[in-house]
C-alpha cells in the first residue's frame, strides 16, 4: 500500500495489467514516444515496445476502429482519447460498431477507452466536457467515473477485464490534486457498485467524479447537517439500490454533476428516485449541474458554470429547511 496521485494510480494500474497480460495494448495520440498528453503512459513504449504502445494518427475513428478490430481478434486494447471531448470524432466506430457488435454477431468487444474529462482549468469548450451521459444512453457501452486513486486503479482493471466496451472517464482536475492509499497488488473494483463517501442522516447527495469533493466540502461547511454522499463510481450500469437505500433513509436527495443539466445523467437518477422511492420523499428531488451552455474559457465564467461548493451549500440548506 502506498499513497499515490489519481494519475499515478491509473498509470501504475495500466502498467501492472500490461505486465500481467500480453493481450493488453495501448493505442492513442502521442501515447508512445511522448508518453501521453498527461504522461499517463510515460515510459510505456520503452518497457513494452511500439507494437503494444501504439502512436496512432490524429484520428479518433482510426483509434476506436483499430481498437475494436484488435478486440475482435482477441486483444484487450486500452484506447486513449487525448481529451474526452475528441471522442465525438470516433462516435460511429464506438456507437455503431463496438456497442452493437455483441448483440449483432455475438462477438465480445473488450475495449477500454480512457477519457480525460472535466473542467476547472480554463480549458474552454473543447477540452473540459463531461460527456458521460451521451454514452450512458447507448446500450452496449459501460461508463465509469472514479473519484479516488484506489477506485481509478480498481475500475481500470475491471474495465480491461470486462468483455464489453467500457468508457473510463478520468477527471483531469483530480490527476495531481487527489492522493490516496492504493494497494500495490492487483485488485478490481466492481463496475456498477457505488461507494459511500460519507454517511449521514439528513440529506443524500448522489454524485461522481470531481463533484464528490465539492459535495464533501459543502457538507463540511454545514456542521449541523448530516449529509450522506453516495459516490456512484459507475454511471452505467449504476447502483440504483445504493441510491434508493440512502434516499429511503434520508428522504431528501440532491443529485450533483459537473455535466450540463438537461439530459444530464442526474435526470435519470432523479427520475428513478421519483419512480422507486416516491413514498419516502420529504422534499422535491434537487439537481445541481452546469447550465446548458458550452464550457466557457474565462475563469470567472467557468466558475459560474461548474457547480461550486457554495452552490451545493445553498442546495443542501434549501433541502434541509424545506
Amino acid at each position: 500500500m502506498a499513497e499515490k496521485t489519481y494519475l499515478q494510480a491509473i498509470s501504475d494500474g495500466l502498467r501492472q495489467e500490461m505486465r500481467r497480460d500480453k493481450r493488453v495494448i495501448v493505442i492513442g495520440e502521442d501515447v508512445g514516444v511522448y508518453g501521453g498528453a498527461f504522461k499517463v503512459t510515460l515510459g510505456f513504449q520503452e518497457e513494452f515496445g511500439p507494437w503494444r504502445v501504439i502512436d496512432a494518427p490524429l484520428s479518433e475513428t482510426a483509434i476506436l476502429g483499430g481498437a475494436t478490430g484488435a478486440a475482435i481478434m482477441g486483444m484487450r486494447p486500452v484506447a486513449e482519447m487525448q481529451f474526452a471531448d475528441f471522442i465525438s470524432c470516433g462516435w460511429d466506430q464506438l456507437v455503431t460498431v463496438a456497442a452493437k457488435q455483441r448483440w449483432r454477431a455475438g462477438t465480445p468487444i473488450p475495449i477500454t477507452v480512457r477519457l480525460p474529462s472535466g473542467g476547472g482549468f480554463s480549458g474552454g469548450p473543447f477540452h473540459s466536457q463531461n460527456p458521460e451521459s451521451s454514452f450512458a444512453h447507448i446500450p452496449g457501452l459501460k461508463c465509469v467515473c472514479p473519484a479516488t486513486p484506489a477506485d481509478a486503479k480498481g475500475l481500470l482493471i475491471s474495465a480491461i477485464e470486462d468483455p464489453n466496451p467500457v468508457l473510463f472517464f478520468e477527471h483531469k482536475h483530480l490527476y495531481r490534486r487527489v492522493k490516496g492509499e492504493v494497494p500495490d497488488e492487483r485488485y478490481t473494483t466492481p463496475i456498477g457498485e457505488a461507494r459511500l463517501h460519507q454517511e449521514g442522516d439528513d440529506v443524500t447527495v448522489v454524485t461522481w467524479g470531481a463533484m464528490v469533493y465539492t459535495a464533501a466540502e459543502a457538507a463540511a461547511k454545514l456542521g449541523d447537517l448530516s449529509v450522506e454522499i453516495v459516490d456512484l463510481r459507475s454511471v452505467m450500469p449504476w447502483d440504483r439500490e445504493a441510491v434508493l437505500a440512502s434516499v429511503r433513509k434520508t428522504s431528501k436527495a440532491l443529485v450533483l454533476h459537473e455535466d450540463t443539466r438537461s439530459g444530464g445523467f442526474g435526470a435519470e437518477i432523479a427520475a428513478t428516485i421519483a419512480e422507486e422511492a416516491f413514498e419516502h420523499l420529504d422534499a422535491p428531488i434537487k439537481r445541481i449541474a452546469a447550465p446548458d451552455t458550452p464550457v466557457p474559457f474565462s475563469p470567472p465564467l467557468e466558475q459560474a458554470f461548474i457547480p461550486q461548493v457554495d452552490d451545493v451549500v445553498a442546495g443542501l440548506r434549501e433541502l434541509a429547511e424545506y
Partner: protein
C-alpha cells in the same frame, strides 16, 4: 415546456429577524397578466413596507392570502400560471385530504381575524375565489413520506406541529410525533391515538378581535404598528431616558444654506435642508463624545469608530414610522449627507427600502420640527444610547453683544435641539458637553467646515 408551470409567490424574508409579514395590498387581481419583476403585491413587516416583484411572467391565477392577513415568511401568497391560463383548479383529493377539517378551521379563523370577514357575500371576486384558496393552501402540503407515515399510524398530519418551510410537517416532525405518542400510551393501538389529539384543535379556535361597541371602529394592527408598539415599549423598559435641550443660533447655517441651496439644486438636483447641516455637525461632534454613539451590550460598553445615522421618517397618512439608516455617515460631506437623507426619505415613502436600509444604526436623529414643534422627548431607538431631536427654526428676539460690547436685542433664527440619552451609560454632564459642542459647531462653522 410551458405546460403546467406554475410559479409561487411567497412571503419573502425581509431581514434576518423578520418572521412574518402582512399583505397590505394586491396590486394585481386574479386573471391579470403580470410580467416578471413587476410589482405584484405590497407587504408590510415590522421592519419595512415593500412591494414584492413577481417571480415570473404569466397570469395571476390564485390569491391565497388576502389583504390584511399576516402570515409566516415562506407562506404561499398566490400563484402565477401560464399566460392565458384561468384560475387553477383545486388539486385532486389525495392522502393529504385527511388534513382538511383542521386546515379549514384555521383558515376560517385567520379570515375572521382580518377585516375580510366583514365583506358582503359575493361582493367581489376575491370573496368568490375563497373556496379555492382554502383547498389549494400550501401551508398543509403533505410530502409523500409524511403521508405514508401518517397513513401507517392513522395520524392527521394537521395535528402535528410543523418545523418545515411555511410550517410544513416534515418527516422528522412526524417521526418525533409518533415516538411521543407511542411513548405516552404504549398499550393503545396506534389508530386510536389521534382521536383525542384532534379534539382540542377544533374545540379551541383562536380568540377573535374584540367586538366594537357603539360608535367604535375596530381594526387589526398591521405589522408595522405592532412593531412600533413593541419597540417603543421595550425601549422605555430598557433605557433610563433623560432629555436635555439647548437653543442654537442658526444665523450662520441659514446664511450658508441660502448661498448653497440654489447651487445644490441646480448642479446636483439635491434639496439642501437644515437637517443635512445638523447631521454633519452631529457626526463631527459624536467623534468627541463616543458614548453618545454607543450601546450597552450586557455588562459591556460598545463604542463605534463609525456613525450609522438613522433618520426617523414618518410615512404618509399617519401609516407609521420607519428609521432608515445612512451607513458610515462619518465619511459623507454636506452634499453626500443631503443626498443620502433625501434618498432614504424618498425610498421610505415609496416603500423601496431594503431590509439592510433599516438595520445597524448607531445613533438616530428625529426631526419633528417641520410641524413647528419646538420641544419633545423622543424615545431612544434600541440598542442605541441617544437620539437627537431637531425642531423648528423660528425667528426670536435674541440678546447679543454688539461691536461695542453692549448687550442688544437682535432678530435671530433659533432652533431647539434635544438630546435624549440613556442615563445608564451617559451622564448629564456628558450629554451637556455633547450639546454644547454641537451648538458651537453649528454657530461657528463656516462653509468650508461642512
Amino acid at each position: 415546456m410551458a405546460t403546467g408551470t406554475a410559479v409561487d409567490v411567497v412571503m419573502p424574508q425581509m431581514g434576518v429577524s423578520v418572521s412574518e409579514g402582512t399583505v397590505t395590498k394586491w396590486l394585481k387581481s386574479v386573471g391579470d397578466h403580470v410580467d416578471a419583476d413587476e410589482s405584484i403585491v405590497e407587504i408590510s413587516t415590522d421592519k419595512v413596507d415593500t412591494e414584492v416583484p413577481s417571480p415570473g411572467t404569466g397570469t395571476l391565477t390564485e390569491i391565497l392570502v388576502h389583504e390584511g392577513q399576516t402570515v409566516a415568511v415562506g407562506t404561499l401568497l398566490g400563484r402565477i400560471g401560464d399566460a392565458g391560463a384561468g384560475p387553477a383548479a383545486p388539486p385532486p383529493p389525495s392522502g393529504a385530504s385527511v388534513a382538511e377539517p383542521a386546515t379549514q378551521a384555521a383558515t376560517d379563523a385567520a379570515t375572521t381575524a382580518s377585516s375580510e370577514g366583514d365583506a358582503a357575500p359575493g361582493e367581489d371576486r376575491v370573496t368568490a375565489a375563497e373556496p379555492e384558496s382554502h383547498d389549494g393552501h400550501d401551508r398543509t402540503f403533505v410530502s409523500p413520506v409524511v403521508a405514508r407515515i401518517a397513513a401507517e399510524h392513522g395520524i392527521d398530519p394537521a395535528s402535528v406541529p410543523g418545523s418545515g418551510r411555511g410550517g410544513r410537517v416534515t418527516k422528522k416532525d412526524m417521526l418525533a410525533f409518533v415516538e411521543r405518542q407511542q411513548g405516552a400510551t404504549p398499550a393503545v393501538p396506534a389508530p386510536e391515538i389521534p382521536a383525542p389529539a384532534r379534539e382540542p384543535a377544533s374545540a379551541q379556535p383562536p380568540p377573535g378581535p374584540p367586538q366594537p361597541e357603539g360608535g367604535e371602529v375596530v381594526e387589526p394592527m398591521n405589522a408595522m404598528r405592532r412593531g412600533i408598539a413593541e419597540h417603543m415599549r421595550r425601549s422605555l423598559d430598557t433605557a433610563a431616558h433623560v432629555t436635555s435641550a439647548i437653543e442654537v443660533d442658526m444665523s450662520k447655517v441659514v446664511a450658508i444654506r441660502d448661498r448653497l441651496k440654489p447651487e445644490y439644486q441646480r448642479s446636483y438636483g439635491v434639496n439642501l435642508t437644515y437637517l443635512a447641516f445638523v447631521a454633519r455637525a452631529t457626526v463631527e461632534t459624536l467623534r468627541d463624545w463616543p458614548w453618545v454613539n454607543a450601546e450597552l451590550r450586557g455588562e459591556s460598553i460598545v463604542t463605534h469608530n463609525y456613525v450609522n445615522l438613522g433618520f426617523a421618517v414618518a410615512l404618509e397618512g399617519g401609516k407609521g414610522l420607519i428609521v432608515p439608516v445612512l451607513k458610515h455617515a462619518e465619511g459623507l460631506n454636506l452634499l453626500g449627507m443631503a443626498r443620502g437623507v433625501a434618498d432614504l426619505a424618498e425610498r421610505a415613502r415609496t416603500k423601496k427600502l431594503l431590509p439592510d436600509d433599516v438595520q445597524g444604526g448607531t445613533f438616530t436623529i428625529t426631526n419633528p420640527g417641520s410641524f413647528g414643534t419646538f420641544h419633545g422627548t423622543p424615545i431612544i431607538n434600541q440598542p442605541q444610547s441617544g437620539i437627537l431631536g431637531t425642531y423648528a427654526v423660528v425667528k426670536r428676539p435674541w440678546v447679543i453683544r454688539d461691536e461695542n460690547g453692549n448687550d442688544a436685542i437682535a432678530i435671530r433664527p433659533i432652533m431647539n435641539l434635544t438630546l435624549t440619552y440613556d442615563h445608564r451609560l451617559v451622564d448629564g454632564a456628558y450629554a451637556g458637553g455633547f450639546l454644547h459642542d454641537l451648538r458651537a459647531r453649528l454657530e461657528t462653522s463656516g462653509e468650508a467646515d461642512y
